[in-house]
Symmetry: C2
Subunit: 351 residues, 2 copies
């Protein structure tokens, strides 16, 4: 079998942020596919639909009327998964039956008044408003809550039930699993190596040049060494930044530019409005604002589900749910493919 070649031989890679592993099977994407395909989402969406609860001027299920907003617009989710006022469960001394309190609030944030536009097709000045609103909401909810999760589910393949461009913000009194893990791994890394994990990681990736996709003045977009989803990526600032509200004016403008570029690449990957879940991870808030969080580094994560085409996604099912995530191409192959894609959006070219 000769010597080890990561682009040829199955292997496992370590994720130092989650302290777990991914199984990499480089040649498995060649197997035939007769399973479920997703809808190719090119249906015509009306620019304004007064019945769509995310549109300016629309009446929401709870009877409230949206203002005729022009930039971004934030409101409280009509069906919140976490509520501000919830009683504290009685403490239990049984380690097998432990319940704890969850307080928080869930917001919806519209990116733009039009339903028929997406982030990569928006103007830079309008994307900048999205960045500013993210920063504001993180700072604002962060005063009260331990964790503020900004995330976007785009496309019906990612459970998004409304085509209007928007994201969500769920904040909570507790530190969710993923962040509890990252708090621990980054703290331990900094104690041991003296540098924040992701600052060190970016330095090394900039030298290795194997998984970088796009670079701007202040941001780097790459496929992490331990990526799980076929085209999973990470977006990192060049500077050490704890939270999104700490970004400078220049970094924010440059982030708007980077977002336009990276989302254009994603849409060009399969010439479809690329479905994904994305979100921001930075230092925790609430009581953590007073603690040393210098082991944290702000970053965004993108998890697109597509594997082979606009309609064939990667299913994270049996083996992945019961044992360990598995991927069908290497991080380097994914980075290379994304890198070579055109910079102009396929929809703008056709126009």
């Amino acid at each position: 079998s000769g010597s080890f070649d990561p682009s040829e031989h199955p292997h496992i890679r370590y994720n130092p942020l989650r302290d777990d592993w991914v199984l990499v099977s480089p040649h498995r994407s060649k197997r035939p596919w007769q399973g479920q395909v997703e809808k190719a989402e090119e249906a015509v969406i009306p620019r304004h639909d007064p019945k769509n609860p995310l549109c300016p001027g629309a009446t929401r299920p709870n009877g409230k009327v949206n203002p005729n907003y022009e930039g971004t617009y934030v409101f409280t989710n009509d069906f919140q998964a976490i509520l501000e006022e919830t009683p504290k469960p009685e403490p239990s001394d049984d380690p097998l039956f432990q319940t704890a309190q969850a307080q928080g609030t869930c917001k919806v944030m519209c990116f733009h008044p039009w339903s028929d536009i997406t982030l990569p097709l928006m103007e830079l000045k309008d994307i900048r408003k999205v960045v500013d609103t993210w920063a504001e909401i993180n700072a604002d909810l962060g005063k009260t809550y331990t964790w503020v999760q900004i995330f976007e589910n785009r496309g019906s393949a990612m459970g998004c039930s409304n085509p209007h461009p928007h994201c969500q913000v769920w904040s909570s009194s507790f530190l969710p699993n993923e962040l509890a893990a990252k708090e621990r791994t980054q703290r331990v890394y900094k104690e041991k190596h003296g540098k924040p994990l992701l600052v060190d990681y970016l330095d090394k990736e900039l030298k290795k040049q194997e998984r970088l996709v796009l670079e701007t003045a202040h941001w780097v977009w790459l496929v992490p060494y331990w990526a799980v989803w076929p085209y999973e990526t990470m977006l990192l600032p060049r500077r050490h930044v704890l939270r999104i509200e700490d970004l400078t004016d220049e970094e924010r403008n440059d982030l708007a530019l980077m977002l336009k570029k990276l989302l254009t690449k994603y849409d060009n990957l399969f010439e479809t409005s690329c479905p994904y879940s994305m979100g921001w991870h930075g230092a925790p808030t609430g009581e953590w604002l007073k603690k040393d969080c210098s082991h944290w580094q702000l970053h965004a994560l993108y998890y697109p589900p597509l594997l082979r085409s606009a309609t064939v996604k990667k299913f994270m099912v049996g083996y992945e749910m019961l044992a360990q995530p598995q991927r069908d191409l290497t991080a380097e192959q994914a980075a290379d493919k994304l890198k070579k894609l055109p910079d102009q959006h396929y929809k703008e070219k056709k126009g």
Copy 2:
């Protein structure tokens, strides 16, 4: 807001096997749904299709011809994610770029010669053959490999690309993430409390009577306190059993009966052939066969994705991927619903 009521108030519950938490939002399933719906899978499937690589007598993509098998049939996956012979990566001293060797083999196991039958509609004697084949394969591959993951992806919603009743068995030289976590949590629990975690857990659930769904002479089917998927369940033997091959003749017959009953309930839930991923977790194998594994208890896990109907599933997306799993009804509500379902399969009733 009054005193805490778990069927009313959002809260988080601890999963002692994974050492993490789930967010429970009891009333969230009331929100309207305009998102993606799954195909209702009632297409007519031919009993025998010579072009289907899982059928008796069919030619597979690699040119091999299946025997005219009559019970179960096991063969090596034509597109294996893990291979028997893979070289060892060079060791790296960088904690951020760690690769390790993966050796193993991936098997496919057909349950029955007919493509148009499913486990719950099979005869008990034929389900018993499935149980015996699971036991055999675990014992057999367990001689060589640290972990043998038996799992079934059923239905196109779970990435299953072939309607022929079958499961898969991926074995590996490494202990995958989920099992590494369970090895640790169960070991620590036994050290501290003197009893295996899941043996203790079953005792307590049998007393509480809040999440039990079905009981037979040797098996108990329940919704775990910390379930993530809407109708996630766990199947436990009453006796302390380390591995599936350790089941007695009586326990195997009774398991066949329990499988028929529980899968009938699942199909009756939304009157559809219920999609799910399921799998077996027991004590690790390979070098672990010589170690004390008495902290382990054999169990099967079922993860069906459906939430509201045969076509509306729960999406584990943005918040769940980036922060923490979230469920829209309590484990008790799910158990109650499953319990009340008829015991006769909806397809047999109609016939």
